[in-house]
Symmetry: C2
Subunit: 336 residues, 2 copies
């Protein structure tokens, strides 16, 4: 299967249609739909996750609960929205009270912390496959609100804008590689790396602080180059970024350079924000980072060149990166 037959294209090909209805969305192809619902401006996102695809089959259920909500909150963060409510559907092969209790603790803890109330849900039994239990499937729809007229999308980047990223990138991917025994880091660095994979922090305060400052934003779920690529595609621009500026953790720096490149540029699952802002707004971006207590780093600039591929330079010379992000339907290896 080719990359063109991937996840995004299924929605594009089979489920787009002439616009109709009273609610218009500004965010087709974005992390969230931004909807003017009467007098309210809403951001809405949904994600479906399967054990064995998005989580290791034996993942700690408390972490699964936390992360299932965190990835949706990250989409709201990328729109600058304040989370308000979510809806949960779970398909389980059988009822397992211990698993449910742990899952709920992780999920509801983050919900309470972020003020995002569970306002509805559905549970169902997934059928067996030839006597074997099918894996658990979790679907969450999260909703937030936005001030009238505001909201970040992937579509607003302009040539000359700076490219920024929050926190550090590559840690979640490196954690998975270490957990699978493919890579190794100093033992005392591993817990922090694993925490980045299992308990990502949705950058909600930063997203809100960037409203009216950033010109475009996305969260880093598929990988820095892939998610910046989504901004370029929707904004019809290009980008150049400098490897030396990309913020990576001390643990990541202990790896070989090709592994650093792979993790920081192509590894997903960090749930940082990648965003653009006019060069003249650089001070306001730094203030937003301070206000949100979240590090922000300028890593490159937006160019005229159309297309979704990003030019990455190290010491001024373009470098090649192997993987460019994860796509469930395009035959990419499953995080392995």
């Amino acid at each position: 299967m080719t990359a063109e037959a991937g996840e995004f294209q299924i929605i594009e090909r089979f489920f787009t249609h002439e616009a109709f209805g009273a609610w218009k969305s500004q965010g087709v192809g974005d992390d969230c739909a931004i909807i003017d619902a009467g007098a309210a401006r809403l951001a809405v996102t949904c994600d479906m996750m399967a054990l064995g695809t998005h989580f290791l089959p034996d993942a700690d259920p408390e972490n699964v609960g936390y992360k299932a909500l965190a990835v949706n909150l990250s989409d709201l963060a990328a729109a600058g929205a304040t989370p308000r409510a979510f809806f949960l559907s779970i398909g389980l092969p059988r009822r397992d009270d211990g698993w449910l209790a742990d899952f709920s603790r992780g999920l509801m803890g983050l919900a309470a912390e972020t003020g995002c109330a569970l306002l509805g849900g559905d549970t169902t039994r997934t059928p067996e496959v030839n006597g074997r239990r099918a894996p658990a499937v979790i679907s969450i729809t999260a909703m937030g609100d936005l001030p009238a007229g505001l909201g970040l999308t992937r579509a607003g980047a302009r040539p000359g804008d700076d490219v920024w990223v929050s926190g550090t990138v590559g840690d979640a991917y490196a954690a998975l590689k270490c957990r699978w025994g493919h890579w190794s880091v100093m033992p005392d660095a591993l817990p922090d790396l694993c925490r980045r994979m299992d308990r990502p922090t949705p950058r909600l305060a930063l997203g809100r602080a960037l409203l009216g400052v950033a010109s475009a934003a996305a969260d880093v779920s598929d990988g820095l180059l892939a998610d910046l690529g989504h901004i370029l595609e929707r904004s019809h621009v290009g980008a150049e970024i400098d490897w030396e500026r990309i913020p990576v953790s001390t643990a990541l720096k202990s790896l070989t350079m090709p592994r650093q490149h792979e993790a920081a540029l192509a590894g997903g699952d960090d749930y940082e924000l990648v965003f653009t802002a006019p060069a003249a707004a650089a001070d306001r971006v730094l203030e937003a980072g301070l206000a949100a207590a979240t590090p922000v780093t300028r890593i490159g600039r937006i160019t005229e060149r159309k297309g979704s591929s990003v030019v990455v330079r190290a010491h001024g010379l373009p470098i090649a990166v192997e993987r460019t992000g994860f796509d469930h339907f395009s035959g990419a290896p499953d995080h392995a």
Copy 2:
């Protein structure tokens, strides 16, 4: 597993919490959450469906697409809401373009007909189970709006109110029994019965017309007695209904009386509305039915007696009914 350990109890037991957050919901335990989101009043519902559990494994994908949305629209109808938008997550074991095209035609046809726009989605791959493909899983979250201060819930029934139902009940269940070869009807009656099962009509116009008229409402998804039972439980009242008044189709009347009872009282999947209204509002209910071009029939009354069980009388004497509705987690037979 006992009935107490069923679907509803999973949400109750593991996912309820102290209320927090800026959006309050009026509808915990209802078909929809009714939410005041700033200046807008929203109704939101979500349902997860699995092939092999909610649909026959070889169900026509166009019907699956239609019905997956129809059952969510039916929840909005039970709240009296006008559908505006929905969000779709699909988990598939592999990409199948023919299945997706047919599924989309059924889904998007009903979406266009009802003005309910698809504003976001997610697709994912469900993992294989020991080399076997897991079944497709579909999750839909549908949103509608309501006039300020209005919205039907299950909680408002009062002693002395009439109990009403729209259309006819039992057809979808009888269709399944016939399709499985357990029951039979005249061959020329079968297509209409099957259409009731495959293409249920969400009673949207009736739900809207009942705003400010009905005191409580639910859709008939689990079965007439089970869904009326949900109203009784939430309203802390009892009910008596008269078998002779329950509207059943000519096809259903051709079956033996025990089968008629089983289908009309305990068989789900009809997506009619069961609702209550003060006796003094009977004329307004009839007018609402006329305005919505939907038959409505008074089948009984609300009593003081607390509890969720319904007394059904035939020729004035209480009758017993075998099944009382479908619950995915409580070991009920799977529509078989």
